[in-house]
Amino acid sequence: MSLTVNWGPQHPSSGHFRMVTTIDGDRIVKAIPKIGYTHRGIEKLLENRDYIPAIPMIERFNMTDCAPMNMCWILGVEDLLGAEVPDRAHYLRTILCEISRIASHLYNLALYTVAIGMYTPFMWAIGDREYFLRLAEELTGVRLAFAYMLPGGVRRDMSEDLGGKIMKTVDYLEKRIPEYNRFVYESPTVEARGRDVGVLTREEALEMGAAGPVLRGSGVALDMRKKAPYAAYEKMDFDVVSYPEGDSHARMLVRFGEMVQSFRILRQAVKEIPNGDIHAVTKKTSTIVRTRGVPEGKTYVRCEAARGMIGLYLESHGGRRPYRAKFSTPSFRNAYILPKIFNNAPVADAPATYHSLDIWALEMDR
C-alpha cells in the first residue's frame, strides 16, 4: 500500500520547499515538486523599481551566493547602456564572485554532510566559510548581501592589505584540503552514501536542462565563465571540472574541484589586478542610470552562479524602470530533475540526494 506524504515545506532538510511524495515501503515511487512556497514576485516588483535600488532585492534570490545575481543584473544594464567598465573593476567583480562561490559551495558541503549524518564536516565547512565571509566583509562592508557592483564599476576599492589576506585565507584552506579529502571526499563511508545514488545520466541531464554542478557531475563540461566570459574570467587560467558518473558523490566532487579552481582564480586575480579607477568616470554611469535611466532595448545576458547558469532577459522602454526583467535561475531548472532521481529511491537517501543538487528554494521561486 502506498502512502502520500508531504516532504516540506518546513522540513529541516528541504528548506522552504514542498514535495508531494508517494511512498511504498521505504521507497519513493513518485515525487512531485510543488514550486512556489516562497514566491515573492520579485520579477514583477522589479518593474516598479529604479535600476540601482533593485539590486538589494535581486540579491535576495539567493543570500548564500548573492554576488552572481548582482553581476547578472549589472551585465544586463551595462549591455543596454553600452557602458565601459575599467579593468580594475572587472577584477574586483571576479574576486567577489569567486569568494561568493567558495562560500556557497562550503555551505552546500555543510548541508550535504549533515544530511548524511556527519556533523564534523558540517562544523568544518561552516567554520571555514566564515573566513571567506570575513574577506567579503573587508571588501564590501557586509558579510552577505553585498550590493557591491553598480553599472560602470564597483562601489569601493580593495584596501592594500586585502590581497595578502585573500592569499593567506586561500593558503589556509588549501592546507585543509587533505583533511577534507581524507574524511569527506575519499572516505569510504561518505562514498557509500553517495555512489550510485540519484544517478542522472548525461543524456538525461541535457534533456532536462540541468545546470551548474549537476550538469557537470553528469559529464557535460559547460561553464559560462569559459563559454561566454564576463568580468575578468577571460584572462584567468582555470579548468572546468566535470565527472562522468552523474551520482550524488560526483556532484559533490565537482563542487570541491570548483573550489580548488576558485582558489586558482583568486590567486591570479589578486596577483594581476591592475591599478586604476574602479568606476569608468567617477560615479558617472551610475548617475546616468539614476537620473535618466536606461535607453530602449532588449538584451539577454548570462553568468555562472555557484548553482549554475543564471540568465536574465531585460527589456527597457526607456526611463528609469525596466519594462520586463525575467530571470532564469539554476535551482528552478534543477528542481525538474527531482522526480527523475527520486524515482524508486530509498527514503533514507532522499535528503542527501536533494542537497547534492544544491537547490535553493528562494532562488527557485523568486
Binding site: 540601482i52 535600488p53 564590501t140 557586509v142 548581501a145 562601489r155 557509500a192 550510485d196 539614476r290
Partner: protein, 157 residues
C-alpha cells in the same frame, strides 16, 4: 552499495574508524573558531556597513538619499524650512546606497551593528538623533578577540 565493498581489507576498515579519532584528538589542541559573543567581541572590518549617522553640519538637505533608498525607509522632516532625513532602521537593509549617493558625504556608516530595542518605534531615528555618533561600547561588549586567537595556521592580523 555497502561500505565493505569500498575498503580493501580489514586494515583499511580499522583505519576508517581510528583516523577520525586521531584527527579529533589533534583538533583538541587547535584554537577555537567561535567567540563567546556577549562576553567577547570581534571588531568589524573597516568600512563596515552598520548604523547610519548624519553630519548635520555638512548635510545640504537635498534628499537624494531618500530617493535612492530601496526600502523607502528614509523619510523627510521639515525643520525651519529645511528638509532633513530620518531613518527607520526597522526597514533598512544596510545596503549603503544612501551613503554612497550623498553628495557632501554627510551620511556615514558606523560599525554599530547592535542596537536592539524593545519596540519597533524606537528603531525610528529622528533627524537630530541621526546626528549622534554611537557609543562604541554598544558594540564593544566584553573583551576583544583578535582573529589570530580564534583561528589556526592562518593569521589575519
Amino acid at each position: 552499495m555497502s561500505i565493505t565493498k569500498r575498503v580493501n581489507g580489514v586494515g583499511e576498515f580499522i583505519r576508517t574508524i581510528v583516523d577520525p579519532v586521531i584527527l579529533g584528538f589533534r583538533h583538541l589542541f587547535r584554537p577555537r573558531q567561535t567567540i563567546r559573543y556577549p562576553f567577547e567581541y570581534y571588531e568589524p572590518a573597516d568600512g563596515y556597513r552598520g548604523r547610519i549617522i548624519n553630519d548635520l553640519e555638512k548635510c545640504i538637505n537635498c534628499m537624494l538619499c531618500a530617493r535612492i533608498c530601496p526600502d523607502k525607509c528614509i523619510s523627510q522632516k521639515i525643520v525651519e524650512g529645511k528638509k532633513w532625513p530620518e531613518i527607520d532602521f526597522g526597514r533598512c537593509c544596510f545596503c549603503g546606497f544612501c551613503v554612497w549617493v550623498c553628495p557632501p558625504d554627510s551620511l556615514q556608516m558606523t560599525k554599530d551593528h547592535s542596537f536592539p530595542t524593545y519596540n519597533k518605534e524606537d528603531l525610528f531615528y529622528e533627524w537630530d538623533e541621526l546626528g549622534e555618533y554611537p557609543d562604541p561600547s554598544s558594540w564593544r561588549v566584553g573583551k576583544e578577540i583578535k582573529q589570530k586567537k580564534i583561528q589556526h595556521e592562518m593569521v589575519f592580523e
